[in-house]
């Protein structure tokens, strides 16, 4: 019988008693020779296989033991790591071997657990030390540290007991091993978290052990303190914090702290606030001593003053004050250091640092003056007045904003390309559906119209890559930045290409093949292709979630373009933008209209409306002249009305939609009496102006409350309050008298007419700028292009953004956040949105939880103040109403004011005063939490503007607040 057969027999018959004698009798060579056979059997017996509803192995418990023992006796390190029989590392199993065999790899295998995220529980620290003493293992310090942590507790069944006596069993533990805990990452900070005694968590732990055994002299106390400080510097927040806590609990004496000064100072470079605070507290304790190393402290103090933790900065300043009093020789250095605290936009810290500098600093010290000057523009007036002697007059001049954006004329830099040859068209079409540029959706149809007479059959192969991309896109290869409009454009392009293929069947044969390939991938599509071939249409059946509204303008436009292409009409599109982001040069628009006039053609309704909405309305003299001289009839009257600020509408009004759009582009808030009789007059005006009524309120709502009582889940309905903004969008509905009711309604439904039908005739562009969908989907990828349909008057879509993204204090998700950011980007570029809805949106963004949104909104306010197109009073009033119902925490607003809006320029400071005055007027008489900081900022702005409170009602309110204990000091100067 061979060895393999003998072994197989032992395994199969589960003769575990025979295994050890069998293995013992083998030579090392025989064990190595046997290992492939064991490996094969191991795979067979230990591999999990599905059996019924569960997974199990072939091996019985006895067979598993036999295999594991065999692995231990016959495998090398590589093999054993693969099997990883960690449970063998218990006394019970190991002792069966160690008297006659100890594998060479045992030490390496045990040490390999030192950096794994688990430890074999069968091997405890006590047995590890025993194995070490017997020479079987040479443990690495990291493993010792990790194994020592749980050894403080004794475990009996489910119960655990704090038993420090266990650590006294081996002298090496306290002499050497205990110090490894300070050098390697362990779980010492939560060693008792999951340990229970009599149903309660074990309270005592390592902290108690160190306190007790350093107290009775068993552990060298000074070394313990030193190691604790060094450990507090090198681990993660929780572990470092635990060591810092240990240091505090050890209550070091003054003498000990003085001996540990270098280690304490080293902690100032720690990234953890708690550690720094504890080091500072210890320093404070000995700052008065002659042996305190003030120079060493000052070397490191520069790291503390820029700390974002106010308490750390305040404690450091306190130390600096103490040291100034103690050693006059250090004053100039301390003053220079103290300037570091001026970086904080926190009045109390600045004032404290300024006092210290004023007291100890030399106004003739050029270095000190130069350093203070660097903070000049960010100083609060209190700190500024304290440091007056150090600031020369020119530093007091407020910084001038260096904004780049000039709302100037359309320039060559912002001009969009005009595609004039086939090569350019090929490259444009290849990327048109990628949403690389918002104007690609306008440029592609415009170019197809322009070049339609040049496009021949021979050009079809060059367009195939674009067709392939469009087909891929159509058959669900969506990318993260592609929206519904890209899908619509792809469908439009595919329909045009199919039409081309039909015109040039020979040259279009490979393109037809391409279509066929994509359709043949699915049985349904294959049949469709077989039935319809190149007469299949992508565009006509195009559907999106919000097809009826948001995307209809583009759909109508592209439908018109497709018709023109098929009919060979090469009149240019009126609405193609000429400049970034979507403006049309008014002179170019007049020239385009002239071409229509010359050919006696009527512009496509949607095309004309978009063009009028995109027309640049500044510096229009040239265009007015051109329109005056060249245009005729209603087109002339519309253009003159649009371009000339003084011009009023003059009838007759046959192109009603164009007149209405021109009026909304020119002055959205003005109701022109001449246009009152247009059919749109029957609709609520808010539908077109976007100025929907809204409420800022706290409302009650119910929710389901879950309670876990006695092992059972109880649900109940509870009521709570929430702050919301509610928009009344009823104006978006068509007026009742236009909708049939009763039997008429039934018949009209039978006839295929929908209840919420568009007004007749024709639908206005703004009728589409709304949504019936409850939830957002991919609107954030399209909103930029939708807003740029009407850049002169974005307010209706702003109402959409407010309703979907900003009505609640928190965002529903990333989609809503992205939508709002895209909207803000457009507002920042176009500088429009000056109605109340625009102001509501900016106000909501200013108190948004998202920092990007806040920064954008702040930038729009700064820009609006410069360009005088934002009403700070209205904005302040909305903010006041929002804050009165605690829509957002005051701190968010005050942080914004300090970081983004104050000290920009005198112009902005005055606008800020108006904003804050208006905000405070809206606040309730009882002071709200966080009001103090807001009042500090208000007083600071008043000081900067050398202004006083003028509004009597506000004065009274401030007087009332002044009586309040916490606010009196702040308002001392203001009222």
């Amino acid at each position: 019988m061979t060895l393999e057969e003998q072994y197989t027999c032992i395994l199969e018959k589960q003769q575990d008693a025979k295994l050890i004698p069998f293995l013992q009798a083998l030579t090392p060579q025989e064990r190595a020779k046997l290992s492939p056979h064991i490996k094969k059997l191991g795979k067979d017996y230990l591999t999990f296989k599905q059996q019924g509803n569960g997974w199990t192995t072939r091996a019985t418990d006895k067979q598993r033991n036999i295999l594991m023992y065999s692995f231990f006796a016959c495998y090398n390190l590589q093999g054993i790591r693969k099997e990883n029989p960690a449970w063998l590392l218990s006394r019970e199993h190991l002792e069966k071997f160690l008297s006659w065999y100890c594998p060479a790899w045992l030490s390496d295998y045990i040490n390999s657990f030192s950096d794994q995220n688990w430890l074999p529980y069968q091997l405890d620290y006590g047995y590890l030390i025993e194995l070490t003493q017997r020479g079987f293992v040479q443990p690495v310090p990291q493993l010792i540290a990790r194994m020592l942590v749980p050894f403080l507790y004794e475990h009996k069944g489910r119960e655990s007991f704090y038993d420090p006596e266990r650590l006294l069993q081996h002298p090496v533990t306290l002499q050497e091993h205990i110090w490894h805990l300070f050098q390697y990452e362990t779980t010492i900070h939560f060693s008792n978290r999951y340990l229970y005694q009599a149903g309660k968590q074990v309270q005592k732990g390592w902290l108690d052990f160190f306190l007790a055994y350093s107290g009775n002299g068993t552990i060298d106390r000074l070394r313990l303190l030193r190691e604790t400080l060094m450990a507090a510097h090198q681990f993660n927040k929780n572990l470092s914090g635990w060591f810092a806590e240990l240091f505090t609990q050890l209550t070091p004496t003054e003498e000990e702290i003085l001996l540990l000064q270098p280690e304490l100072f080293n902690l100032f470079a720690s990234p953890h606030g708690k550690v720094i605070s504890i080091a500072l507290q210890a320093c404070k304790q000995v700052a008065g001593s002659d042996r305190f190393d003030a120079t060493g402290f000052l070397d490191q103090a520069a790291l503390l003053l820029p700390s974002p933790a106010k308490s750390v900065v305040a404690a450091t300043l306190h130390m600096l004050e103490k040291l100034t009093k103690k050693d006059g020789g250090l004053r100039s250095r301390i003053c220079l250091l103290a300037t570091g605290a001026l970086i904080h936009k926190e009045e109390s810290l600045q004032t404290r640092a300024a006092r210290l500098i004023r007291k100890g600093g030399n106004p003739q010290d050029e270095e000190l003056k130069a350093t203070i000057r660097l903070y000049g523009s960010s100083l609060f007036s209190a700190a500024r007045s304290l440091l007056e002697a150090f600031l020369s007059r020119e530093e007091e001049v407020q910084p001038v904003p260096d904004r780049q954006r000039a709302k100037g004329a359309l320039t060559a830099a912002t001009a969009l390309p005009v595609i004039s040859n086939m090569d350019e068209l090929v490259f444009l079409s290849a990327q048109a559906f990628d949403n690389n540029q918002s104007w690609h959706i306008d440029l592609l149809p415009a170019t197809l119209i322009r070049l339609q007479k040049e496009i021949r059959g021979e050009h079809i192969p060059a367009l195939e890559p674009a067709m392939q991309r469009a087909l891929r896109f159509y058959f669900d290869d969506w990318r993260s930045n592609q929206g519904q409009l890209d899908h619509l454009l792809a469908c439009f392009f595919l329909d045009y290409c199919l039409w081309l293929i039909r015109q040039y069947p020979q040259e279009g044969s490979t393109a037809r093949e391409l279509f066929s390939n994509y359709f043949s991938k699915q049985e349904y599509n294959k049949k469709l292709w077989e039935d319809k071939g190149t007469y299949i249409t992508f565009f006509e059946g195009w559907k999106a979630e919000d097809t009826r509204y948001l995307y209809s303008a583009y759909r109508n436009l592209l439908e018109g373009v497709l018709t023109n292409l098929k009919q060979g009409i090469d009149l240019p599109l009126l609405c193609t933008p000429t400049h970034e982001p979507a403006w049309i040069d008014p002179a170019v628009l007049v020239e385009r209209l002239l071409l229509y006039q010359q050919q006696g053609a009527v512009p496509h309704d949607t095309d004309l409306q978009i063009a009028l909405s995109r027309c640049w309305l500044h510096g229009t003299e040239k265009a007015i002249r051109l329109a005056h001289n060249q245009l005729e009839g209603e087109s002339k009257r519309i253009m003159l009305f649009l371009l000339d600020k003084e011009q009023q509408p003059t009838g007759p009004f046959t192109m009603e939609a164009a007149w209405m759009t021109a009026a909304l582009s020119k002055s959205p808030q003005t109701s022109f009496a001449e246009l009152a009789d247009l059919s749109y007059g029957q609709q609520p005006r808010a539908r077109y102006t976007g100025q929907y009524p809204y409420q800022i309120l706290r409302e009650s709502y119910t929710y389901t409350k879950y309670n876990w009582i006695n092992g059972k889940n109880h649900t109940e309905t509870a009521t709570a309050q929430r702050a919301v903004v509610r928009l009344d969008l009823s104006a978006q509905q068509v007026k009742k008298n236009q909708v049939a009711s009763g039997l008429k309604k039934f018949f009209s439904l039978l006839a295929g007419r929908k209840e919420d039908s568009m007004p007749e005739p024709p639908p206005l562009l703004y009728d589409y700028l709304r949504s019936k969908e409850k939830w957002l989907s991919s609107e954030n990828r399209d909103i930029r292009r939708l807003l740029l349909l009407t850049p002169n008057h974005p307010e209706p879509l702003l109402a959409f953004a407010v309703e979907k993204g900003l009505c609640d204090p928190a965002f529903f998700g990333e989609t809503a956040k992205r939508l709002v950011i895209r909207v803000l980007e457009v507002l920042h570029e176009t500088g429009h949105g000056s109605g109340e809805m625009g102001h509501l949106m900016i106000a909501l963004c200013l108190v948004s939880p998202d920092k990007t949104i806040v920064s954008y909104a702040a930038e729009i306010w700064l820009q609006g103040v410069e360009e005088k197109n934002i009403d700070s009073r209205l904005l302040g009033s909305i903010l006041g109403r929002l804050e009165s119902i605690e829509f957002a925490p005051f701190k968010r607003l005050t942080d914004l004011l300090v970081q983004h809006l104050t000290g920009i320029s005198p112009l902005h400071n005055h606008a800020l005063e108006i904003l804050l005055t208006s905000l405070l007027q809206e606040l309730p008489e009882g002071p709200l939490r966080g009001l103090k900081k807001l009042l500090e900022i208000y007083c600071e702005v008043l000081r900067l503007n050398a202004s006083t409170v003028k509004d009597e009602a506000l004065k009274t309110k401030l007087q009332q607040w002044k009586q309040h204990s916490t606010l009196g000091k702040v308002l001392k100067e203001a009222v």
């Binding site: 970086i343 904003p401 780049q404 690389n436 890559p465 920092k851 930038e859 920009i904 320029s905």
Partner: protein, 446 residues
Amino acid sequence: MSDTITYSYASPSALQATAKGDELFLAHYSEVEKKQSPCFFWGRLTDPYTTARCLITLSQVVQSNFNLSPFQLALLKDPIVTAGNEKIRFEGFSHCAGAYARVDVLPGGHEGEFVASGTTNVDFNQPMIAALSRIRKSESVLLAVGKKEVSVQSSAGKVIERKVPLPVKWIKGLTTVQLFLAQTEEVHSFNRIQALQLFQTLPGGKPKTDYYMMVRGGRPQFSPVKSGAAICIGGVHRLKLLEPLLAHADHLKVFAHPAMQSTTWQLYFGNLRFSLSLSRDSWRGFSGEGAALEDLLEDIPQSWVDLVDKYSYANGAFNPTLFAVEEGINLQQLAGITSRLSAMGLLGYDVDENSFFYRQLPYKLNRILSLNPRLKDAEKLLEENKINIIQQTESRMEARVEGSGVTHMVVIEEHQGRCTCTWYARHQGERGLCKHVLAVKKKTGY
């Protein structure tokens, strides 16, 4: 070629306490070492406290990960160090290869002996990094890149081996980042206070939108709002890696790529420099940018590589003209040699000195050249003869290249290639050339 690399260290790196003070021993390994150099540098650091903090920050960069790829700490790559020409440079990449950090210990930053010059991997283990934070200001620290005493090394006995997957991203990133650095220009210089003011405006969390760095009212700040002369930074939260060093720095310089494809933030501490270069966005590593592809199109004779290796010394500025004159190589032939050598991992770039410096990556050259799938695909297109040249004039080249299912149009005008493929449509050439343009260029040398 194996897809794993085995770092084989004679012993682990460690900060050891000796009677004369601490000794920072860095174990090294290179798979292309020609001879076993036991030690590259041995000497004192003049500012060990700041050097230690810079090395900790470098280790934090190496441990960081800013994209969504699975992060395996155990498989971290070790930084590389180049010693020579009186400088010691430590280089490393974040796990995602989107953040590149370098610590330069300049002449005056050390007092010691460069026993040998060269580039090697150094073991950066966690206990050693943790121990670095213990170094105090007044302390004396000895730095040893490799054991000076051969006997010590041999007596150490046990070799530390760590097998990690081949650091493809690192190697590609190291070859690509130099080309971005070579194009960057200094745009701002701030003193410590301004730098601290700037970083105070760093947004919290991980903003998904681009941020712009601008100076307003004399104060630098970050803002999500685009403005004229601002520097664009995608994944701005990556800059937080620099925060622990700011309070130590004398000043900060900001360098930007002309097309804002990368930014470099360099901190100066006397004779020490720490630079952090960021890719265009947090989800875009330098490794995937393809900037080196064009430079790898032309084969460099092995004899030149050998010559560069022979005449250049680690950290020495590379002067192509001098190289050509000394070796009698036609200057025209040398056009673009710096970028080609850099793409092969033979040169690094120092933005402060505005020059390339020699350092051969401690990886086999054929590894480096085998890592560019787009280049391989282009070669496949050439092999399969899928390129049809339509027009070739001095100013314009037009070709048709067979793609999957369609034929792509490639036009190269004024060295700018355009293609109708998806890659080009999506990135518009910002992330290197597509395989079709590469194939046409390789075929025609256009």
